[in-house]
């Protein structure tokens, strides 16, 4: 609570550490944290919990961190909600954080609620906007609700720290600056690592990460593909644009594609720069997951498809005719650039 804490420790960011290393959404948060900390005249601290690694942490400095709290331990290699949240709560408590941010990934959305409960403070989920209120100095947290149909602004007036999870790709990564900071390796009490949960294993899906939330382009397919092979065409287009493949719920239910690809109310909420939907009607539940995309392109043979109503570009016709033509056009354009 505010009475016991003063928040002079500034803005803390919980880094997203994956098997492939520190995820780029961490840099987005560090960049934003820099802005918020400057508005408050305070420091930015990044917390990195991982198993021992050679990967440098300096990029976090270049994008805004003043200090990195680095905890390396074999036991931190795989997420253990109990242990990780206890350590984060300990570090932000000791550091007297005013604001704590984590990406709204499965990890951040697991850890931060536990941290909020441990230290008794508020937490706003899935924020898409953060700013410091000039008058009160409080963090104003903006988040879409009810599938993006409502935008709520939330504050945490009487508790510290003020905590938020933030959707990946919401804030840009600030240009790198020539700056350094302090790496501290806090010594943690053995009791913080105490757990009765056992990790039985980790598997990657399809031999690769299925992380559609982190990419600029998503090419999604729906029932209109008619057959599972249709996703190959979408994959071809997605590869060309270095994007990911998304899907509507019925295609996931029909097992044409796996659940991590599902976009919508009961799948992922995405906000890529380009969302291309092919053969998706545009039910409210699907729109809830993608309507905040920067640009929406819809391919559908039904001129009345609800998805057309939220699209920037509507291509009305058979997707099996349109997509190959689009793929050709993109290839030609790319080749020209290379000649």
């Amino acid at each position: 609570m505010r009475t016991e804490r003063n928040g002079l420790g500034g803005v803390f960011v919980v880094a997203e550490v994956r098997r492939s290393g520190i995820h780029s959404c961490t840099l987005e948060l560090v960049s934003k944290a820099r802005e918020l900390a400057d508005a408050r005249g305070r420091e930015v601290t990044a917390i990195v919990l991982r198993s021992p690694s050679e990967e440098p942490v300096e990029p976090l400095f270049r994008h805004g961190a003043d200090r990195i709290l680095l905890v390396e331990d074999e036991r931190l290699g795989s997420l253990n909600a109990e242990v990780h949240s206890r350590i984060v709560a300990h570090l932000i408590g000791k550091g007297d954080a005013e604001i704590v941010l984590a990406p709204a990934t499965t990890t951040g959305r697991t850890l931060l609620p536990a941290v909020a409960a441990l230290i008794h403070t508020g937490l706003t989920a899935d924020c898409t906007g953060l700013e410091i209120d000039a008058e009160t100095g409080l963090l104003l947290q903006t988040r879409p609700a009810i599938g993006g149909n409502v935008i709520a602004t939330i504050k945490t007036p009487d508790h510290l720290p003020q905590m938020a999870t933030v959707r990946p790709k919401t804030f840009p990564v600030a240009p790198p600056q020539d700056r350094l900071g302090r790496v501290e390796r806090p010594l943690l009490d053995e009791s913080l690592f105490c757990t009765s949960v056992v990790c039985l294993g980790e598997e990657s899906v399809e031999g690769e990460e299925v992380d559609i939330q982190g990419l600029d382009v998503i090419v999604s397919g729906g029932k209109g593909l008619k057959r599972p092979e249709g996703f190959r065409l979408l994959q071809e287009l997605a590869d060309l644009l270095e994007g990911a493949v998304g899907a509507s719920r019925p295609t996931v239910e029909a097992k044409w594609i796996s659940y991590p690809h599902q976009v919508g109310l009961s799948g992922k909420v995405v906000a890529p720069r380009i969302y291309l939907a092919a053969g998706i009607s545009g039910a409210v539940q699907h729109l809830a997951g993608m309507q905040t995309a920067e640009t929406i392109i819809a391919v559908n043979k039904d001129p009345e498809a609800p998805l057309f109503r939220v699209a920037d570009v509507a291509l009305c016709g058979d997707l099996y005719e349109i997509l190959p033509r689009l793929i050709d056009a993109i290839r030609r354009e790319k080749e020209e650039r290379h000649d």
Partner: protein, 267 residues
């Protein structure tokens, strides 16, 4: 095995229509139902009960009408139902909701397992489950897409960005579940009858032994400052059968403009 399932009543988004002018959801006259993922949680609880015996208890905090959601839970096969309803609970954020639910779980427990949905379709925070677990000091797992009960503990598979993580949690523990966990069943006629007759225990603030300042709006660390209804302001460029060439050129131009065609040509 004693299992508790947290169920929340949410507006039926199936019936929600979009207001094309304002870009908002039209909720008027919309019915309410159990949050879809909570039905998956309940289905899993009933399955485990069938396998290992025990009881399934459903709990909900909400206005008096939330009793209907609980009766639906009873109709589906839950043994007991508890409704937390009190003016003092109104306006609760996830912390204050979790506090009340955790207190009730303590009063009516102990439970070996608590199940919740990964997130609710209205608040979409997914915070209540982990917060309840932490307030009770229970180990927990989120994003669970498979689970099985063994004598040694609850084995779960979490679906995460990189794939899957498999965990074993000792009892008592809490799990929040995804929709691909199972296929929720429909209530039977006999079940419906039972659901109408069975008792729903009501709990108010004084029954919980909590202070008014710990619950509802006054117990909530967060405050909503304002609500905006963003208008969908997209201008749709529509291309029909005869001008698809132009449509495709438009898309390519957009990609170019956004510098998304720079990568190596994988042609």
């Amino acid at each position: 095995m004693k299992i508790a399932v947290l169920i929340k009543q949410v507006p039926d988004t199936d019936e929600v229509k979009m207001d094309p002018e304002k870009g908002t959801m039209i909720r008027d006259g919309v019915g309410s139902l159990i949050n879809p993922l909570d039905l998956n949680a309940l289905e899993a609880a009933l399955f485990l009960k069938g396998e290992r015996g025990g009881t399934v208890t459903v709990l909900s905090m909400g206005p008096p009408q939330a009793e209907r959601a609980l009766r639906e839970g009873l109709a589906l096969g839950a043994d007991r139902a508890h409704l937390l309803s009190d003016r003092a609970f109104a306006g609760a954020d996830t912390w204050a909701t979790a506090k009340v639910l955790a207190t009730l779980l303590e009063k009516t427990g102990p439970y070996d397992l608590v199940l919740a949905g990964e997130k609710a379709t209205d608040g979409e925070t997914g915070q209540v489950g982990p917060e309840v677990a932490t307030l009770l000091g229970l180990p927990f797992a989120t994003y669970v897409s498979r689970l099985s009960a063994t004598d040694g503990g609850l084995e779960v598979r979490r679906t995460v960005e990189e794939g899957y993580q498999r965990l074993r949690l000792p009892y008592p523990c809490l799990a929040t579940v995804l929709h691909d966990l199972n296929e929720p069943s429909m209530p039977t006629l006999a079940g419906k009858k039972r659901g109408r007759r069975a008792e729903v225990t009501r709990w108010g603030l004084s029954d919980l032994g909590l202070e008014e300042t710990e619950v509802g709006l006054s117990g909530s660390p967060t405050r909503v400052v304002r609500i905006a209804h963003p208008k969908i302001t997209r201008q749709t460029a529509f291309y029909g059968a005869r001008d698809l060439d132009r449509g495709i050129a438009h898309v390519v131009a957009l990609l170019k403009e956004k510098a998304l065609l720079q990568g190596g040509g994988q042609a």
